[in-house]
């Protein structure tokens, strides 16, 4: 497994430090679909420098998928995903309350909290997220590969609140963090993982993709003809370590990665807030199509369930989750075309 002890992040700077270098534009999926500088992190920062309000910036703030690609490329060290999350929170506070079943459930969950049992103090925990939970067989395989217990409180509501800009009640946040203190953490949700880096400095944590791909049973089944799709949020949230980790993975296995020339992960399945809430249609999986442009892999291996869904929509290549690799007969039976 890659080293998991992360450095405490340097204090991020705010939008005032933006010098307009455009580097975030090059990697931004919003930019790729809109070709409009207002739909870029730089556009947001510059507009704020000139007095724009959160309400004036609602369209780009809601279109952002929080993939975090802008974060590692910013030479000024501005916390650009944090900027978008702040603006979302301001938007949520300034607008009349939006009503949707998703939001209603979330607010109830945040108030109620989650009862958690007493796990042994140092046992590593898995935060699988709702997508993985929904696939019981795959979740069992992940657990078997990693040998981890599933956290009673896996913070799904907190991850969703981060995404939607909903304020997290202090008692709920403290309850969640208390359940994680002292444990090594493997999280499927890259946005939650990114925040845990801030909330639990010094803790041991890693993304599900990196944890799985470091297992010999999985790694040895990656082929040079595979396109390996890194989950963008976890990768960008810990870029310096992850870029080195996946570089080694690529050297060892020969598989292609969904990295651009700047070694930024092109997100395939991430959606903007407005798409997530069903307010606007998606952009037709343009990112997944861009990843595949000019590439002819024999198989696509994904770390996240959202990416799997995106590729299954845009191509007829076999798409497998990382946990499905390995010598597990059940998995081979589930997706025989992916294993030849």
């Amino acid at each position: 497994m890659p080293a998991t002890l992360a450095r405490a992040p340097a204090a991020p700077r705010d939008y005032a430090a933006c010098s307009g270098c455009n580097l975030c534009v090059l990697v931004c999926p919003m930019w790729r679909s809109h070709r409009d500088p207002r739909f870029t992190p730089e556009g947001l920062a510059k507009a704020l420098q000139h007095g724009a309000t959160a309400a004036q910036l609602a369209a780009p703030v809601e279109a952002c998928s929080l993939c975090g690609a802008c974060d590692p490329v910013c030479p000024e060290g501005i916390d650009l995903p944090g900027l978008v999350m702040d603006l979302r929170q301001k938007l949520a506070n300034s607008l009349s309350p939006r009503s949707s079943p998703l939001l209603d459930d979330l607010c109830a969950s945040l108030q109620q909290g989650v009862a958690s049992g007493v796990a042994s103090r140092s046992a590593p925990l898995l935060l699988p997220g709702p997508d993985l939970r929904a696939d019981a067989a795959l979740l069992a395989r992940v657990q078997a590969l990693l040998g981890l217990a599933i956290a009673d409180d896996d913070g799904d509501d907190i991850a969703l609140a981060l995404e939607l800009g909903v304020e997290i009640p202090q008692h709920r946040l403290q309850q969640f963090l208390a359940s994680l203190r002292g444990h090594s953490i493997v999280a499927a949700d890259g946005l939650l993982l990114r925040q845990l880096r801030r909330w639990l400095p010094g803790s041991q944590r890693m993304g599900l993709g990196a944890a799985l791909s470091s297992r010999p049973a999985v790694r040895s089944n990656l082929l040079a003809t595979d396109l390996y799709v890194i989950e963008a949020r976890a990768y960008h949230g810990d870029y310096e370590r992850m870029v080195a980790y996946y570089d080694r993975l690529q050297l060892e296995t020969g598989c292609a990665l969904n990295l651009d020339l700047q070694r930024i992960a092109i997100p395939a399945g991430a959606q903007g807030l407005s798409q997530k809430l069903g307010a606007t249609p998606g952009d037709g999986d343009a990112q997944a199509k861009w990843i595949l442009k000019g590439r002819r892999p024999a198989r696509i291996v994904v770390e996240s369930m959202a990416d799997r869904a995106a590729f299954e929509r845009v191509c007829d290549l076999p798409v497998v989750h990382l946990a499905e690799l390995g010598e597990d007969p059940e998995m081979i039976k589930r997706r025989p075309h992916a294993f030849g």
Binding site: S19, R35, R38, G43, A47, Q56, Q262
Partner: protein, 533 residues
Amino acid sequence: MAGYYSPLTSTRTLLLKIPPVEPGTVGPCPVAPDALQGIKRQQTNPARWNGAGWQDFVAALRTSSVELAEGAAACGVYATDAGGTAYGLPHGVVLARSAGQISLLLKAAQAHRVPVTVRGGGLTTEGESVAFGGVLLDMSGMSRVLNVDAQALTVRAEAGIYWHALAEELRRENLDYLSAPLNLTSSVGGTLGVGGIDVNSARLGCSADQALSLQVVTPTGEIVECSDGENPELFQRVILGYGQFGIITEATLRVRPYTPLAMHYYYYSSLRTAIEDLQMLDRNDASDYSGILTIMDCAVNLLVAFDSDEREAAFRKNWESRLRGYGEFGFALCMAGHYALRPWKFREALYLLQRKREVFPEFRRPEYMREGKMHDRSVVFSRAVWKHWGSRQMVIPDLATSADKFIEAVERGNAVCRKYFVHYTLYCVGIKLRPDHQPHYEMSCVPPDAEGWAYGCEFEPMIEGGIYSRDHFQSFKNAIYDVGVDMGASYYRFGGMMKGYIRRVFGDALVDRHLAMKRRADPAMILNRDVIF
């Protein structure tokens, strides 16, 4: 030149006599022969356009279904350029979507005499892409690759595309562009309008020379295709034309197969010796890439690189032994000896060590190195440039000369840097000239007396969190540019705030001829009007 008596200061002050300008018309030429007399060395931002007729113009655009955005959220992003010393806001912004849309915009702008400032990546440093009122046309909205011909090795792209975005698309076909500026966010159209220098320009020429044909919207709104064979006069004026004679909307460029680079670095304690070696390599076509980057006056890096093992082997066999620079270890020993004998210069030694520690690893990041070769050099170089040289203010005056004048120009420019800043970097590179493109080079960064190669040197102070006034920067730039006037050189960045030097360098006859052409092509003088004329 008139003088007037100021009762407030009781001093006699010389002012440039500027007659009142009727709204919407073009004022007197600010680069007239006597324009610099009596002007103190200070900031020279143009005046903001007064907005006469703006509402009628906006109404005309709406009738034509051209979308125009106004307000802080739309305009704020364009307040300055990469230089960060010229500030201005447009009245409104149009995001380029098609040549037809731009044609409608320019026709309305001509009719209503509204200035149009065109912006690509905004990588200008003298305010050339900053709108001081009027419309800002953001070309980044037209940034798609239209066609890649892997057989003919050409690409057709919309001109607002960033070079890096073009490289991303080309790489999927295992192709690469020929040469482009060493940053990721210059646009193709903007670069073709000014030149574009890369570390392979000594072999492949400037970026503008790789354009085969262009689609241009003229200042009066005609959409015209041009090349060396089709509308050649327009092609000659638009290439290296600083945006005066039309807006490039599409470009067909030559491309080449992608190759990783074998890099070699040589270190010198003498700038002159390094430049002599650089020019020796260029004259003999001994390398595919060559350039000089200084860390300090006594620590000069000559970069040499190759696209193929064969070219590298030929260099090792025939030319490497003629270079007088050291390898990294040898140079470290030299410097250790140098500073051991001069302990009072320990701060200098510390700075050198610090730069080495910070910058060198950037050029050796493992994810960009495979089997000893560097992949994606533009990313490696550009990231390093932004990280270690970039800041909110990028002040980069330059000198472009013929080969034989270059050493003197660099040494004199270096002396100016020493006077104004504690630390600075010089970046020197050669530019192979194409004899058949001589008409393109007229009134451009290519000096008229250059034959075979032109050479350029950028003088970049390290701001390092220091606070300098804009006057200090302007004075520094003027001191560098005065060297150019004295030596009969040219400049890469002679537009915007530095346009006062145009007549001094190019002479009245040439400037007047281009001004007359501009007036014919752009009767209301609306297109990029504060850049040159």
